[in-house]
């Protein structure tokens, strides 16, 4: 016969004073675990959110990032007349030649500088990226040294408010609007006219080309481009290009897992201590239960359950502690583009579940040895004990 669950729950609760610190300790471990993982999830999501499934990206053969790629004007002209490119309602082909430039700008609060990606786009650049939406101000106009800035970026760097201007490469650029990239990689960019960007930053060539084409035509189009000697470009689906960039999250995941492992060892020791103390204090109680006819196994499972309940409470506290950080926006260095990537902590239900499972395992491991000890207590001696 198993011990009633209510007995275990009440046993944990009645000793809440002595177990509180253990519960809280486990809670903190879980909170750190969830926060670190949510950081990695947010970073990966910003890459996964980027790109339209109908778009193809063209970069120089051998180049692994848009920033290190070059597409000449002649090549772009050839590409414009490819038959498989979709057209908008005005009959213009949906193809944009982008110019990418890294610029160094000061962070808010004099906290040093960071590289930011400036993306010069053609007229249809916005149409090709439906997740980007202008939230305030207006779109830039070509030839006027105007830029639109991601709203999240504007919160992190100086002089990016609407109406403000900043200096780079000897030129003053005017901010005329803010956009929202819907948690994509575009949230880390400044946009301007592609030809403006080329002339201001003294670039002969564009960096990359983005075009829309029906996925059924991709094979033919890729063939046409990659077999053309004049082009020497490689074709990648836009979504695939960005999903390859998730490697930036790897060190954060590594750090998160390392911390979780190390801290959980400490938490297991704490849980063990608490449960041993609990067993010690309840020796007589255990003896009584045995006399009443409860089997060793029932006692063992009972104490394991108590450990699990204790840790579960800790896990819940940990989840609550970590929740306020959800959707908090932060930034770090993207290794692939060598520029600042802005992203949000992202706590998913899956992560919460993982945190709770993690907590309960800590509880179970920590209470295993004390529970075995409790189940092996000699009945008569324990009844006699004070």
């Amino acid at each position: 016969m198993a011990l009633p669950l209510r007995y275990n729950v009440r046993s944990v609760l009645i000793r809440w004073r002595s177990t509180l610190s253990t519960i809280f300790g486990i809670g903190l471990v879980v909170a750190v675990y969830i926060m670190m993982q949510s950081l990695a999830v947010g970073l990966e999501k910003s890459s996964a959110n980027t790109g339209d499934p109908r778009n193809l990206l063209l970069v120089r053969k051998g180049s692994t990032a848009e920033t290190s790629s070059q597409v000449t004007r002649e090549q772009f002209k050839l590409l414009q007349y490819l038959p498989d490119i979709e057209k908008d309602e005005k009959g213009e082909p949906l193809i944009s030649a982008d110019t990418l430039i890294l610029i160094s700008l000061p962070r808010k609060g004099a906290a040093g500088e960071a590289n930011i990606l400036v993306r010069g786009v053609s007229k249809v650049g916005m149409q090709l990226r439906p997740q980007v939406r202008l939230t305030q101000g207006r779109m830039f106009e070509g030839g006027r040294r105007e830029v639109v800035v991601s709203q999240k970026l504007a919160e992190r760097f100086d002089n990016l408010g609407i109406g403000e201007s900043f200096k780079t490469g000897g030129h003053q650029l005017q901010v005329v609007g803010w956009f929202d990239g819907n948690k994509s990689a575009f949230d880390s960019e400044i946009w301007m006219d592609s030809d403006d960007a080329r002339s201001l930053f003294d670039r002969e060539n564009y960096s990359s080309v983005l075009l829309r084409s029906d996925p059924t035509q991709w094979g033919a189009l890729t063939n046409r481009v990659e077999s053309d000697k004049r082009l020497s470009l490689s074709v990648i689906p836009e979504t695939k290009y960005y999903s390859n960039q998730t490697a930036t999250a790897t060190p954060i995941r590594f750090l998160g897992n390392f911390l979780a492992t190390a801290m959980s060892v400490g938490a297991i020791f704490a849980a063990m201590n608490t449960m041993y103390a609990s067993v010690g204090a309840r020796t007589r109680e255990v003896g009584t239960l045995r006399v009443l006819g409860f089997r060793r196994r029932a006692i063992l499972i009972g104490f394991l359950l108590e450990g699990a309940i204790l840790a579960f409470l800790g896990g819940l506290i940990g989840c609550l502690l970590s929740l306020p950080i959800n959707h908090y926006s932060t930034g770090t260095l993207n290794f692939q583009t060598f520029s600042e990537v802005v992203f949000e902590f992202n706590i998913t239900p899956h992560l919460i579940l993982k945190g709770l499972v993690f907590a309960v395992s800590v509880g179970l491991i920590g209470s295993l040895m004390p529970a075995i000890r409790a189940s092996r207590l000699p009945v008569i001696a324990s009844l006699k004990s004070l």
């Binding site: 002595s18 590289n115 000897g170 003294d202 020791f269 932060t330 770090t332 600042e340």
Partner: protein, 381 residues
């Protein structure tokens, strides 16, 4: 029995609990040291005396923009400049993989003038200077990939539209960073369709007093050209990299504080557990005439002892592992090279341990102070 013996016996009376407490303190302190060391590695670039006289010149727009080759002549003429070399990041793939070691194009003749600290046999250096297709690498990378002298290394360009096939003629050691590969800048200069650009200029000032004026003169010399530059000392340049990491520093620091807090919490509770068990004994001690002050001292000494033992295991363990093995370097694939526990970090960890010992004894001391002798004697648990 002496007082010291009494305290020691008390501390280890419940051996399992003492061990668990010590180990949990040890694990937490180990973690704290690891984080502090990692933070130091990320935020404090390795430097030496020679680096104080080195100046890095990059494009003012950002490091991602290149500089025209013609600037070299102008910089060389500036008084106080001892030597100038182009220094260009290649960033190629090796054996079809993205790699953790840097590949830089430089002017081999000036390598020793500007970067004097690395050690290399003179005949290897000579071979490097004389062969435009040669390269040298640091010993760490050579060991990692099992590279031998005379071997050819194929690097596929990603940033530069060129593939290199370089002959390994030298392996250096004892530099600041024994991972990097160096090759002749000529390889890039003679590339088809070359536009004559370099990544950065590295300048050696004739003396430390020249550094300030040289930096200013270089900045002013190109101020109104199409390629304005930012010249800064090597240290300032390295620090600008760290600024790019963004909020990582704050993140690690806040994790450190959570770790410390958890540590205090857990040990404090263990200590009060130990005292609660001995409530009756403490009441007897009080009854036979021990003063509160002495009881406090017992508790403090015990908690202090546990914390100290934890510190010895945790901090000592970290020191042993990080400073005497290459575990971290190999686990992080040479991303973290130094990973060294400094005396300062040890001091910080020991300070936390001391604090822990004191804080953990507060709660039990309070309950002992409040306890009436009669109540305590009555306690059974």
């Amino acid at each position: 029995m002496s007082i010291g013996g009494f305290i020691l016996r008390n501390a280890v009376r419940n051996k399992r609990r003492a061990l668990l407490s010590i180990l949990s303190v040890a694990v937490s302190l180990f973690l704290l040291v690891t984080l502090l060391v990692g933070l130091r590695e990320l935020t404090q670039p390795p430097t030496d005396e020679a680096s104080a006289a080195r100046i890095v010149v990059r494009n003012k727009i950002s490091l991602g923009n290149l500089l025209p080759r013609r600037q070299r002549a102008t910089i060389e003429k500036i008084p106080g400049v001892a030597a100038v070399t182009p220094f260009t990041w290649f960033g190629g793939k090796f054996r079809d993989e993205e790699v953790m070691f840097g590949q830089f194009a430089i002017e081999p003749k000036l390598l020793l003038t500007i970067f004097g600290e690395a050690k290399m046999p003179p005949e290897q250096f000579e071979a490097f200077v004389n062969d435009p297709t040669a390269c040298i690498i640091g010993i760490k990378t050579a060991e990692k990939y099992g590279l031998k002298l005379g071997e050819f290394m194929k690097l596929q360009g990603t940033f530069w539209p060129i593939d290199l096939n370089l002959k390994l003629v030298g392996i250096y050691a004892d530099g600041i960073d024994d991972r990097n590969l160096f090759f002749h800048h000529r390889q890039l200069d003679e590339m088809p369709n070359n536009t004559g650009e370099v990544g950065t200029w590295w300048v050696k000032a004739a003396s430390l007093e020249d550094v300030g004026p040289v930096v200013q003169t270089i900045n002013a010399a190109f101020a109104n050209t199409t390629a304005a530059v930012r010249a800064e000392t090597e240290r300032a340049f390295q620090l600008s990299f760290i600024s790019m990491w963004g909020n990582i520093k704050m993140l690690v620091l806040s994790i450190c504080s959570v770790v410390v807090f958890t540590l205090v919490l857990v040990s404090a509770s263990t200590m009060s557990m130990a005292v609660r068990e001995r409530f009756r004994e403490l009441a007897i001690l009080k009854a036979i005439g021990f003063r509160r002050r002495e009881l406090f001292a017992f508790i403090l000494a015990e908690s202090f002892g546990l914390a100290a033992a934890g510190a010895v295991i945790g901090v000592g363990g970290a020191w042993g592992i990080f400073n005497h093995t290459d575990l971290v370097a190999s686990a992080s694939q040479n991303f973290m090279v130094l990973f060294e526990v400094t005396p300062r970090i040890m001091g910080q960890a020991c300070f936390v341990a001391t604090l822990l010992g004191i804080v953990a004894s507060i709660a039990p001391s309070l309950s002992v102070a409040r306890m009436s002798v009669v109540e305590g004697l009555k306690t059974l648990d």
